[in-house]
């Protein structure tokens, strides 16, 4: 007789890039990785591939950094241009 049980071959849920990393408005380098280098606009969820919570946290932190004068608004800080690519974007 077949026994009812949970799928034993289930994979653990996929983790997004920032799963486990606390987002702060002060580390401008992390925040700049989710910003376009040409216009400075924040990438959407379909490009960054982050989960709900983390995307919201990142947008809030970026906006805060803009206002408080930590991160430039219209472009990406030139010293962070050679950072590794996280987002799923083709230039």
């Amino acid at each position: 007789q077949p026994i009812q049980m949970e799928n034993p071959y289930k994979e653990p849920p996929k983790k997004c890039v920032l799963c486990g990393i606390s987002v702060d408005y002060k580390n401008v380098q992390l925040l700049s990785q989710f910003v376009s280098p040409h216009t400075g606009c924040i990438y959407g969820r379909h490009i960054t591939g982050l989960c709900n919570k983390k995307q919201k946290e990142i947008t809030k932190a970026i906006k805060r950094a803009h206002v408080l004068g930590f991160m430039p608004v219209m472009f990406k800080d030139p010293s962070f241009l050679t950072d590794p690519k996280i987002c799923n974007i083709k230039y």
Binding site: P13, C16, C51
Partner: protein, 107 residues
């Protein structure tokens, strides 16, 4: 440099006057601002960033913003809540069933 020390001393004393407990004062370095900020009839290009760990009554927020607004040496002021460190329960991306969502919305 003695000017920045004087500014910090002034602000901390004003905070203590209103009954706030200063836990920590961090210097985030002096760098060129990301954009030119014009404040108090002057255009600033370089600035020092300081972070003060505060504990106090919420009624001092408005008075302190007023006080810092009148200070010429302060370019930008802000009060931010302490971030609650709680990122150990991040369960990964749960696959969302879009069909069910659409049917539920249609009803």
């Amino acid at each position: 440099k003695p000017e920045t020390a004087a500014v910090l001393k002034r602000t901390v004393e004003a905070l203590m006057e209103r009954g706030a407990i200063v836990r920590n004062l961090e210097n985030l370095g002096e760098r060129s601002l990301p954009y030119k900020i014009s404040k108090h009839k002057e255009r600033h290009r370089r600035g020092g960033y300081f972070l003060i760990d505060l504990e106090g009554p919420p009624s001092i927020v408005s008075t302190m913003m007023d006080h810092l607004g009148r200070d010429i040496d302060v370019i930008r002021r802000a009060f931010i809540k302490h971030p609650v460190l709680k990122t150990e329960e991040c369960s990964g991306i749960i696959p969302v069933n879009y069909e069910d969502k659409l049917i539920a919305k249609k009803k």
